[in-house]
């Protein structure tokens, strides 16, 4: 398969970024919007063409999807250990190309309406393109180090976009928080990469993932504190993934990241960047699965399941619709992690892996749709809070219908996309791990409840006293909604199990009717309960909240995770550890360095006489130096 044109997919957004970034002030906003959209359109077309080529034309040899790699050595350390730059085409990277390009294109189009009249319009599109470029680079990476470089780049673009409204202190704080928390997790990632490179001698994904390769077979050769060093490396790498994908306990940045413009939340904090952690685990799945009999993979499963449950509970109590969606995202990401964690390897055993990727795909579509729908609502009523909304279905019919479709999809109602992928996840959990299956089914119920809570809260119930009569958003905003709604309806019918499996050979997936029935019933219960509570104005919800009493309060305060972090950092780290160190740094370290600096300057002052300006002095030094050298090496250094 010819993959040379694929390099254009990331290059185009990079070019757009440079163009818009450099000529920021000179480009009219109207033009910069078009530049952004058409640039992305071009790379989206290429991505879809690549997917078509790969999945349907010539990606398969003997029924197995092949890996195509095109790379050059960038930095050479040893024969095997080098950092490459290149692109790697395999089922998951092609799928991610499609996800990133479709969602990013929709968000670009949407932003032309949403950001209209904003001062930094051009800058916004430049940042969006930078992000898209980085994300493409991340999914196409051929080795751990390259993925790390782009990993940090998406982090930076996420930081820039969260802090886009930089005059708002809360946005600046949120941007910093997101950057610091994920950076902290990335430290684990980096250490993991270095350990991996040191003990396996390679960064290359293909070499690492080879089940018959030395990296996997020799996992037991070195151990540290009872675990294989490779397991430690994988766990550290997973910490990086958990940071980006907002897994417990690194999730605290994601709700705050909602300070960014809503299209950004849809693109980065729902559909693409936050799934990077899932993608990373999937990328190294053979290692996770084989090394130490899947010890690290078990951790992944539990972290995923607990995050899913934890976030779903919090989501029920939030009143800011974007925060509900943020916690919902975290919960669904937990679902995907969990699915990876319970996956096997060969054939149908690997259903969890397939289901995770499937859910990643469908979730990207319907969650982006939910965010863009929420953006449309916020655009109309100028508030993020449920209390300011109600009865909007009359004013915003398209937003209403598309939001409903997305809500049904995430609640797992057939035939919408979420039903199919969620069903596969539950099948995988049921077959491999009963406890996780029960958590999963409970979360499915909670999901249906919280999503319909906000759906009914926004679009049903009584009208609020709106300052301006809300009206439907312009076509540039509703068009992406319609496209994504269509994807949320038909996305589930894609036979993922033929395209994306661990062994790349594909298998036949069947709907498991008993499990599907249970899941759908639980979801229906959630929807009906939400309907009873929130469809009409009543005080049922408050009553129930009172019954749960303190537990409700905990959940609505997000189980005090932020406070715990603040306590640890401010009270313990800053006071007890940082301050003494800072003192030592100022007094001893700085003092020494300043002393050395002063001595250097003094030395410089003292020797200035040597450069007298007289040629005879120079000649004397020349000859003298030569003679000294000759004496030293003839008489003193004889060996």
């Amino acid at each position: 398969m010819n993959i040379s044109y694929i390099i254009l997919i990331p290059i185009i957004p990079l070019a757009v970024f440079l163009l818009l970034g450099i000529f920021n002030q000179k480009i009219k906003p109207a033009i910069s919007g078009y530049v952004g959209v058409f640039g992305l359109l071009a790379s989206a077309v290429l991505s879809l063409y690549a997917a078509y080529q790969y999945f349907f034309v010539d990606g398969k040899v003997d029924g197995v999807y092949q890996i195509f790699v095109d790379k050059t050595v960038w930095m050479n350390f040893t024969e095997t250990l080098h950092i490459d730059m290149g692109i790697m085409i395999d089922p998951i990277s092609v799928m991610m190309l499609v996800v990133v390009s479709v969602v990013s294109l929709m968000v670009h189009i949407y932003s032309r309406g949403y950001m209209k009249g904003d001062e930094g319009y051009t800058k916004f599109f430049a940042f969006l393109s930078l992000f898209t470029f980085s994300m493409y680079g991340l999914v196409l990476a051929t080795n751990l180090f390259q993925i790390y470089i782009f990993w940090e780049l998406v982090g930076v673009s996420s930081y820039l976009l969260i802090g886009y409204y930089y005059t708002k202190p809360s946005a600046v704080a949120a941007a910093k928080k997101a950057f610091i928390v994920t950076r902290f997790a990335d430290l684990g990632f980096l250490i993991g990469i270095l350990i991996m490179g040191y003990y396996t001698g390679t960064f290359d994904f293909e070499t690492l993932n080879n089940p018959e390769g030395s990296a996997i077979l020799n996992w037991a050769s070195t151990s540290f504190m009872g675990l294989s060093v490779i397991t430690w490396a994988l766990l550290l790498i997973f910490i990086g993934g958990a940071g980006k994908s907002a897994m417990l306990p690194f999730h605290i940045w994601l709700p705050d990241a909602m300070e960014g413009p809503t299209p950004v939340s849809a693109l980065i904090h729902a559909a693409t960047m936050v799934v990077a952690g899932i993608f990373l685990v999937a990328r190294l799945f053979p290692m996770f699965y084989f090394v130490e009999h899947g010890f690290a993979l078990n951790i992944v499963a539990y972290v995923g399941a607990i995050s899913a449950l934890f976030a779903a509970i919090i989501a029920i109590t939030q009143t800011d619709i974007k925060r509900v969606l943020a916690f919902s995202t975290m919960s669904q990401l937990g679902y995907m992690m969990m699915a990876l964690g319970v996956s096997g390897y060969d054939g149908h055993e690997g259903v969890g892996y397939m289901a995770s990727m499937f859910h990643l795909f469908t979730h990207a579509m319907f969650k982006a749709l939910l965010f863009l729908g929420a953006g449309s609502v916020i655009h109309a009523v100028h508030s993020n809070y449920l209390k300011d909304m109600g009865g909007l279905r009359k004013y915003m019919p398209i937003t209403n219908i598309t939001f409903l479709i997305a809500a049904l999809a995430i609640a797992g109602m057939p035939p919408f996309a979420g039903f199919w992928s969620k069903d596969e996840i539950l099948v995988a959990a049921f077959e491999h791990h009963k406890l996780i299956y029960y958590i999963g089914i409970f979360v499915a119920g909670l999901t249906a409840f919280y999503i319909f809570r906000i759906y009914f809260g926004i679009f049903w119930g009584k009208d609020k006293s709106y300052e301006h009569k809300p009206k439907e958003s312009p076509l540039s905003m509703t068009f992406p909604l319609l496209v994504l709604a269509a994807m949320s309806i038909v996305g589930g019918f894609i036979p993922f199990s033929e395209f994306i499996t661990v062994d790349k050979a594909g298998f036949e997936a069947h709907l498991n009717y008993p499990l599907a029935t249970i899941a759908v019933s639980v979801g229906l219960v959630g929807i009906i309960l939400a309907g009873v509570f929130y469809k009409k104005e009543n005080n049922l919800a408050d009553k129930w909240a009172n019954i749960f009493g303190p537990f409700y309060k905990w959940a609505s305060d997000k189980f005090y995770f932020d406070e715990i972090y603040l306590f640890i950092t401010k009270k313990i780290l800053f006071k007890r550890v940082s301050e003494p160190i800072a003192k030592f740094d100022r007094k001893v370290v700085d003092g020494t360095m300043v002393g050395i600096g002063n001595k250097t300057v003094q030395a410089s002052e003292k020797i200035k006489g040597m450069q007298s300006g007289k040629v005879q002095d120079y000649a004397f030094a020349f000859v003298g130096g030569t003679v000294v050298l000759a004496i030293v090496f003839i008489y003193l250094w004889t060996n």
Partner: protein
């Protein structure tokens, strides 16, 4: 001998033809149109540079006196690119000179003659050819250093250069004669077979080395550097610090790594001490300089100290890192000198304090300067970082940890004074900053090429791989 073997000397022949053509042009072009000779010279040299990239076979001529191979060919191309950039940067200045003083052609003829000398020096297969090349490369530059006859300092620079270089050549020739005395031959190929460490051969090595140490400005042979750079026209200071130094490093490397390899246990210790002295002396003097040309002179002395780190390990890795470092250094230093030249040409100002507030009035020029200084200081991701990084890794790989540590200390000192200039340009506010001006096309082209070089060399890794492969001949 037939025409094919003559073509092995393609670089030399074409350059000679260019020189002759320029002499003809000087005579035949009417005085009023004299300044078109600048275009002609740049055009001809551009063709010469491009022609240089055609591949060449490994071979030798004149019974082994002249030889060429992939590496030597590459060296010549590096020098060509450097000189081309230099010509572009001095094009405007020369046009002005021609209009005002009706002289200019000799600048090109002398410069190209010196370059021709370097070609012969690098391609030398015996010490005679080497010596002839060395002399041919120095003498015209002494004339060029005194080119601005109206300025007293320029004449002083010329005198100092000619006196110092006469001494250096004499010492070097004395050393060569001793090597001849111990080995009975002046041919490199013969010497390497028979040379052993004896008192006489070591004395020969030291004296020979002093001559080249003078050209590279190693301590204690460096004293002429600052005075000559300060007095000479900027183009010539730039030529001395970049082209002349680069060529001398190349030939020193060739001779140490091949001819004098049996004496490696001597010269590696010699280089060790000189490297430390050169880095410290260069840096400590650079700290206090107020004049940009003197500042860059001492900075280039310190850079020469770093180069010795790669020379000291004497193998393929050392060669590759040194060549890469020199290549990066060529672009970085040309960029720095280019900016100094551009400013000096428009305003006549050459002091660091004159650069205060430059960023506000001439942002692009300041950015070029910043990039150049960052590259010289070795800040990632510009090329200079990789140049130093590879050098240090190479030295460390042979166990020279203490030397690398000392070099790192010196990088820190150097960073301080490079940042002094950056601070003056970007952070200092002043009312009488140099007003905005726009350089002419040649100067801008010259600066753009250096910027591309500084950025691209750091990112485009296959180049280093290529150099590494070429270096295999020094293993």
């Amino acid at each position: 001998m037939n025409i094919d073997s003559f073509l092995l000397m393609r670089h030399e022949i074409i350059l000679l033809v260019v020189i002759l053509l320029l002499i003809v042009a000087e005579v035949s072009i009417s005085p009023r149109k004299k300044n078109s000779i600048v275009h002609l010279a740049i055009f001809l040299f551009g063709i010469h540079t491009i022609a240089g990239f055609l591949t060449i076979e490994e071979s030798s001529l004149f019974g082994g006196m002249f030889r060429t191979n992939g590496m030597i060919h590459f060296f010549k191309n590096v020098l060509n690119i450097g000189v081309l950039v230099l010509l572009l940067q001095s094009g405007d200045w020369l046009q002005e000179k021609i209009v005002q003083e009706n002289k200019g052609t000799e600048f090109f003829i002398l410069l190209f003659s010196s370059l021709l000398g370097m070609y012969f020096m690098i391609s030398a297969g015996d010490f005679l050819m080497f010596y002839l090349g060395l002399e041919l490369s120095v003498l015209p530059v002494a004339a060029l250093a005194a080119y601005e006859t109206a300025k007293r300092k320029s004449s002083e620079a010329g005198i100092k250069l000619i006196l110092s270089s006469a001494l250096a050549s004499g010492v070097s020739l004395f050393g060569i004669s001793m090597l001849y005395a111990t080995t009975g031959s002046i041919y490199f190929a013969d010497i390497i077979e028979v040379i052993t460490a004896s008192n006489l051969s070591i004395l020969g090595l030291v004296l020979f080395f002093a001559g080249l140490g003078f050209k590279i400005s190693l301590v204690p042979f460096h004293f002429w550097t600052a005075d000559v750079y300060e007095g000479a026209p900027i183009s010539i200071a730039s030529y001395l610090s970049v082209i002349s130094k680069g060529a001398a490093v190349f030939i020193l490397m060739i001779i140490l790594f091949t001819v004098l390899k049996p004496l490696m246990h001597i010269w590696e210790n010699m280089l060790y001490g000189i490297a430390i002295a050169t880095m410290f002396i260069g840096n400590l003097f650079a700290l206090r300089q107020q004049n940009m040309k003197r500042f860059l002179a001492f900075s280039s002395i310190a850079q020469a100290g770093f180069i010795l780190l790669g020379l000291i390990i004497g193998n393929q890795l050392g060669t590759a890192t040194v060549v890469y470092f020199v290549l990066v250094y060529v672009f970085s230093n040309l960029a720095a000198f280019g900016v100094v030249q551009a400013i000096s040409l428009k305003t006549g100002k050459e002091n660091i304090s004159d650069y205060e507030g430059l960023y506000r009035t001439n942002p692009k020029l300041s950015l070029v300067m910043m990039l150049a200084l960052f590259s010289l200081a070795g800040i990632p991701p510009v090329a200079g970082f990789f140049g130093k990084f590879f050098l240090f890794i190479a030295a460390a790989s042979e166990g020279y940890y203490l030397l690398v540590f000392i070099a790192v200390v010196n990088v820190t000192i150097a960073l301080y004074y490079y940042l002094l200039v950056v601070r003056a340009m970007f952070l200092r506010k002043t009312d009488n900053a140099i007003p905005f001006f726009k350089s002419k096309i040649y100067m801008r082209l010259g600066l753009i090429i250096t910027v591309i070089g500084i950025l691209a060399l750091g990112i485009y890794s296959p180049l280093y791989e290529y150099i590494y492969e070429l270096s295999a001949i020094f293993n």
